[in-house]
């Protein structure tokens, strides 16, 4: 009975979304006020219905209702409660429901926080969001209904893939989807302005906080995914350029270009067409990512179970949404006016140049990800495009971006002269070069790549510090300013992490019997013993290791080899001792003869700076969103 409520709520939501999508848009076009005003209430009802539907599904998991097929496929009575809830989005149908739930949530937020916005604009924005929701609801109800029944009900469920039984599952998809879905708001604002024929700075001002918020979530979502892969998969890597990872990274790259472009459009009225195109592209990338992950078109560790019918449907949806947007763009964009004038060397140009690099980066990632498909479709054979390609291509594109990051904030709007820039930046350049030469030489091996990493990171940091000093002399920095500094510093911190780990990590694959020690990165790790352990739904062999430095025991580490009741493949649960300047990573391999075990240990210097940098970026975004002028606006 209860699952049917969830199903029914979805059907109702579809009807409401159609109303929300169609009537306000026509109303705005024809000036019919009665239809315009339907937008907000429709959005609110839509959200309520999705909340009910999602809540019902969560309830089914909580009470172990195995008469629901989706629950039976992804959960199990032995599964700890928190993972039963995470399992709601552990598979295709449920994660799609989460997607739509968050979409209506964002629309609801826009409806509530747009009281001062022109009602024609509101109607159009909510209308577009309604149309997107309609498409997705049709998809869910047509091909991916999470409430489908299993008759007769299963005795117990198949359970969740052990890899997913981890806190990472609880946070990573929701964060990621908040980001993906959040770009739909910028998209809706862009379409709304194209429809109204009024492309002005006000639209950019409205879009900015929404876009930045979505960007914050996407940054956190990607960082979480990377961190989760690092500690869960047991091989210490943090990014594999897997198609699904790329599917989340491309919207991020476009999104970063977008938030910078919006700054210019808001302040100087420039780049309107370009910003609108970026907004369309960012959400298109989100939809494309959704397609790639669920259609079976690419091989990936992340891919959901696929069904060609679903692939066709999403492709149709993608074509309609993006195709019609780009068509509208082709029609309306030429009509927009230009903004203020600016010279070849100005903040505007530097931001625009940065945009070019971000878009080229996104384009390259897209090219690499889809190239195997392209070649296969043309019957030219089968190739693989993996990390060696992406690393070779992506790093050179990002180098100029890092360079610009330190220069842009010093450039004035409209025009800036080269002499002034050089005067501001020479000290940062010196610091950067010194760091690039000294640090690698001190730590160990000096390579060009390592030096380059430190050069760029310290270039950005030094420039940022100088900016902060200068600003503080003039007055209290705005939150916007702090946000920018944190964002840029975040990237520098990230680059330091990547450079250190890439250049100086150590790995040892050894045979250890109780009492044996292995030395790595200046630490000694001694095996005390390996014994059995029991979890709620698994049996394990747990090793006890002493982590020592200079003969003193610092920490005990407990890596495990788990055998889940629901799976035949043993799972490695690595033990990590995390620290500000290094991680020590111990992983149990196979048991060997003579009471010994195969053990793999890693010393990973500064690896946590990778995700620390992402956190800083997200924090920067938060400061930017909380800037006072947005507060004032709401109060009025």
């Amino acid at each position: 009975m209860i699952p049917e409520i969830g199903h029914f709520a979805l059907i109702l939501a579809l009807c409401v979304s159609i109303i929300q999508g169609v009537l306000p848009l026509i109303g705005a076009q024809q000036g019919r006020r009665e239809w315009l005003v339907l937008a907000r209430p429709a959005t609110q009802i839509s959200f309520l219905l999705l909340a009910i539907s999602f809540g019902v599904l969560a309830w089914c998991f909580y009470v172990n209702d195995f008469s629901v097929l989706y629950v039976a496929e992804h959960s199990n009575s032995q599964l700890p409660t928190v993972y039963r809830l995470g399992a709601v989005w552990g598979g295709h149908e449920g994660s799609l429901l989460l997607w739509i739930f968050l979409l209506t949530g964002w629309a609801f937020a826009v409806a509530q926080l747009s009281k001062t916005l022109d009602e024609f604009m509101v109607a159009r924005v909510l209308g577009v969001l309604g149309l997107v929701a309609t498409g997705l609801l049709l998809f869910v109800l047509g091909t991916s209904n999470p409430f489908e029944r299993l008759i007769p009900a299963a005795q117990d469920g198949r359970s969740l893939n052990p890899l997913l039984q981890d806190p990472g599952l609880v946070f990573h998809p929701p964060m990621l989807y908040m980001g993906y879905v959040g770009f739909s708001v910028a998209f809706a604002f862009a379409i709304a302005s194209l429809l109204s024929g009024r492309l002005d700075a006000a639209w950019a001002r409205w879009s900015r906080p929404w876009t930045t918020t979505a960007w914050i979530f996407l940054t956190l979502g990607i960082a979480l995914g990377s961190w989760w892969a690092y500690y869960e998969l047991g091989w210490g890597g943090w990014w594999f350029w897997d198609p699904v990872e790329n599917a989340s990274f491309m919207p991020w790259l476009i999104g970063t270009a977008l938030i910078h472009s919006l700054v210019v459009t808001e302040k100087r009225g420039g780049f309107k067409n370009w910003t609108v195109l970026l907004a369309i592209m960012a959400f298109s990338m989100s939809l494309l990512g959704t397609f790639l992950v669920r259609s079976g078109v690419l091989t990936s560790v992340h891919a959901f179970a696929t069904d060609p019918r679903r692939g066709i449907f999403i492709l149709l949806l993608l074509s309609l949404v993006v195709g019609s947007s780009l068509f509208l763009y082709a029609l309306r964009a030429p009509k927009s006016t230009l903004g203020g004038k600016f010279s070849l060397l100005s903040r505007e140009t530097l931001i625009l140049l940065g945009n070019v690099f971000f878009v080229v980066a996104a384009g390259s990632v897209l090219l690499g990800t889809l190239y195997p498909l392209l070649i296969d479709a043309l019957n030219l054979g089968k190739i693989s495009v993996g990390p060696p390609y992406f690393n070779a291509v992506f790093v050179p594109i990002m180098v100029p971006v890092l360079f610009l990051m330190a220069v842009g904030p010093w450039a004035s709007w409209k025009t800036t002269d080269l002499k002034t820039l050089l005067k501001r930046l020479w000290l940062a350049a010196v610091v950067a070069f010194v760091a690039a030469i000294i640090i690698p030489s001190l730590i160990g091996e000096f390579t060009i790549l390592t030096a380059l990493g430190f050069l760029l990171a310290f270039w950005v940091i030094a420039s940022g510090v100088l900016q902060i000093i200068r600003q503080c002399k003039v007055g209290m920095p705005t939150r916007s300013f702090i946000g920018m500094q944190l964002g840029h510093m975040g990237i520098a911190v990230f680059v330091i992490g990547v450079t250190m780990v890439g250049a100086y990590q150590e790995e040892k694959d050894v045979r250890m019997a109780p009492g044996d020690t292995v030395t790595v990165g200046g630490y000694q790790i001694r095996l005390m013993g390996v014994g059995p352990a029991q979890g709620p739904n698994y049996q394990a062999m747990r090793g006890t290791f002493e982590l020592m430095r200079n003969g003193k025991v610092q920490e005990l580490m407990y890596p495990e080899k788990r055998n889940y009741d629901s799976s035949t493949m043993p799972m490695t649960e690595a033990a990590i001792d995390a620290g500000l300047t290094r991680d020590i990573y111990v992983s149990l391999g196979e048991p060997l003869e003579g009471n010994a075990w195969a053990v793999r240990v890693y010393y990973k210097p500064f690896v946590d700076w990778i995700w620390g940098g992402c956190l800083l970026m997200a924090l920067g975004g938060l400061f930017a969103v909380l800037d006072k002028r947005y507060r004032l606006r709401v109060k009025k």
């Binding site: 091989w235 594999f240 897997d242 198609p243 302040k267 091989t299 990936s300 560790v301 891919a303 230009l338 203020g340 004038k341 600016f342 010279s343 070849l344 140009t349 625009l352 140049l353 070019v356 690099f357 080229v360 384009g363 390259s364 090219l367 690499g368 190239y371 070649i375 030219l380 054979g381 089968k382 190739i383 693989s384 495009v385 993996g386 990390p387 060696p388 390609y389 070779a392 291509v393 594109i397 709007w413 705005t478 916007s480 300013f481 040892k508 694959d509 050894v510 045979r511 250890m512 009492g515 044996d516 020690t517 292995v518 030395t519 001694r526 095996l527 391999g589 195969a598 053990v599 002028r629």
Partner: protein, 153 residues
């Protein structure tokens, strides 16, 4: 006799506990293993859902790593080992796509995009400035705008 035996046994035991070994590397030849890792890292595990040959625990991956070890011992170069794999499994097994006519677009693409992007940008800026200068503002208007911009940081 027995006492001597027992005491030497105890002594050996004692020594082996106190002077517990530095763990021996799993691989019989760590240098070879390093080379194996760097070669197999750039190859695909054909039976996995996108994992490298170096990390995969599948049987085929283990067999292929064993082959690569043999080839290394036989003194083959990295290029020869790659050719060995490609002869049997095609270009699909390489994560670094070989540069051939079908992949020119792939390898040149980003570079071309970059040049195209920067060129388009320069052209746009030139054109824009000539267009905008025809909508010149008065000095007074300019001053007002600058003032507004300063406040509105």
């Amino acid at each position: 006799m027995l006492n001597k035996f027992l005491s030497s046994l105890l002594l050996t035991l004692f020594i082996s506990i106190v002077y517990a070994d530095e763990a021996t590397p799993l691989a019989t030849d760590p240098v070879l293993e390093q080379r194996l890792i760097s070669i197999s890292e750039e190859m695909r595990c054909l039976v996995c859902q996108n994992e490298s040959l170096s990390g995969s625990r599948s049987e085929l991956a283990q067999d292929l790593r064993r082959e690569i070890r043999d080839l290394i011992r036989q003194g083959k170069t990295d290029a020869e080992i790659r050719t060995f794999m490609v002869d049997r499994y095609g270009d699909f097994i390489l994560y670094r796509p070989p540069v051939k006519p079908t992949t020119w677009l792939l390898w040149i693409g980003p570079f071309v995009l970059m040049i195209a992007g920067i060129t388009a940008l320069l052209m746009y800026l030139r054109r824009r400035n000539s267009q905008v200068s025809s909508i010149a503002l008065s000095d007074d208007e300019n001053k007002r705008i600058d003032a507004l911009l300063r406040d509105d940081k």
